[in-house]
Symmetry: C2
Subunit: 285 residues, 2 copies
Amino acid sequence: MKIISSIQELQADIKAVKAKGKTIGFVPTMGALHAGHKSLVARSISENDFNVVSIFVNPTQFNNLSDLEKYPRNIERDAEMLGAIGCDLIFAPQSEDIYTEDELTGRFDFDFAGLDKVMEGKFRPGHFNGVVQIVSKLFNFVQPDKAYFGEKDFQQLAIIHYMVKALNINVEIVDCPIVREESGLAMSSRNERLTPEQRKYAAEISKVLFESRNFVPDLSPADLTVWVSGRINAIEGLKVEYFEIVDSENLRTVQTWEKPAVGCIAVFCGEVRLIDNVRFESMIN
Amino acid sequence: MKIISSIQELQADIKAVKAKGKTIGFVPTMGALHAGHKSLVARSISENDFNVVSIFVNPTQFNNLSDLEKYPRNIERDAEMLGAIGCDLIFAPQSEDIYTEDELTGRFDFDFAGLDKVMEGKFRPGHFNGVVQIVSKLFNFVQPDKAYFGEKDFQQLAIIHYMVKALNINVEIVDCPIVREESGLAMSSRNERLTPEQRKYAAEISKVLFESRNFVPDLSPADLTVWVSGRINAIEGLKVEYFEIVDSENLRTVQTWEKPAVGCIAVFCGEVRLIDNVRFESMIN
């Protein structure tokens, strides 16, 4: 397995792979890889001839410098895991090779039909502009046939699907299910920042989300929203930033259970911000 | 020369061309081709192995249904010209193959560092969103090595350069000079809609623009702006919508002649809206 930081070198390798007619699978990551990432890479390897993982803590998607600084990094351990499962290439560029000075001052702006204005977009202004820009850049560098994303970042995935469709980008987006720790806690690089005690509290998030499904369709989405937030806020050390039950496609808040919906949550566990989600199937067939 | 309307058929042809290692040159147009377009295609042919011209009157970049309806169309004559000079493929898709219903209702929005908010962007709200979206889609369909654009649409070109850089799109954008009629009138498909008398008035636009260069650096950009607008408004049948002298790169209005600038104008000649521009070199070396 090769680790490349130069864009030129990457592009030369990609060209050589394409010339041989091989398909390329791609998993963009910010490193600090866990079992969730591993499942994406394993799926990519099972479906493509040549597999690329990018490791880049993208500054433009952080709206909080402290969060950016504290984001865990461990490229040696990441490389070890990726080499062991059969990844072909790690692309780990430097920020100054990816962005011009102008781009870093955040002048780029997309607007995806309001998809980027709710939930994460509301609480992390500019976040999805940064995500979309880096994903576009990486797609253009790597030129993958398929790219793999986890459903933990549900809103991100909806926005990437929208972008790929709106621009007819020649990449197939593959949605991959959330991978959870034994306790139910959704895998996240940010979990590394939790104390053992916080980990116990954090595990309650998914328990409440799963339990909430039992109240459908008896409680309305609005009432269930209140119930979930109340239950999680009642747990020591947890503070809900938002919980919303939205249409799985357009991410608009739902009033009834007529269409497939997803409940998306962001919770502070101490200083660490965690997200998770749960699907609610449509009650009308 | 082949004329293709199906995206699938186009993509199969492009794949075959790429498999042979041929380079692809691309000229996106809205048809009603004139000598300006011809110069773009001729340059593309001189620099690439396989040359594609798209003909598509893109609805999402019109902010005025009457302008869309009145936009001249003449694909038979276009095809004749393109075949004669050696174009390989015309891609002439239908709107319903390019856009979903949602996309046609105009939910897509880019924001390019304010480049899209001035001049054409101010008077044709949504115009550049439509341009950028169709250019992105076409680039993804055609996958060209180089794409050719005319400098008559100066702002459009600045925005396309910005997009390609911001997203690291693998297409080289080639800027091509304005082609003018003998009278000095910038070539435009819209000129077809002018009466013989209007054509005479319209020819004055470029004359005033060229004359204005003689006042640099004696008049300030602000004073020269007033002079140009006044001169053109004094001509029968012409009404200036805007004239602005802007920095060639960031399109912000300039106060001095320190940096290379461009004077961009939109003028109504009866119902027909014409644009043109003139470059002012920097007065500081």
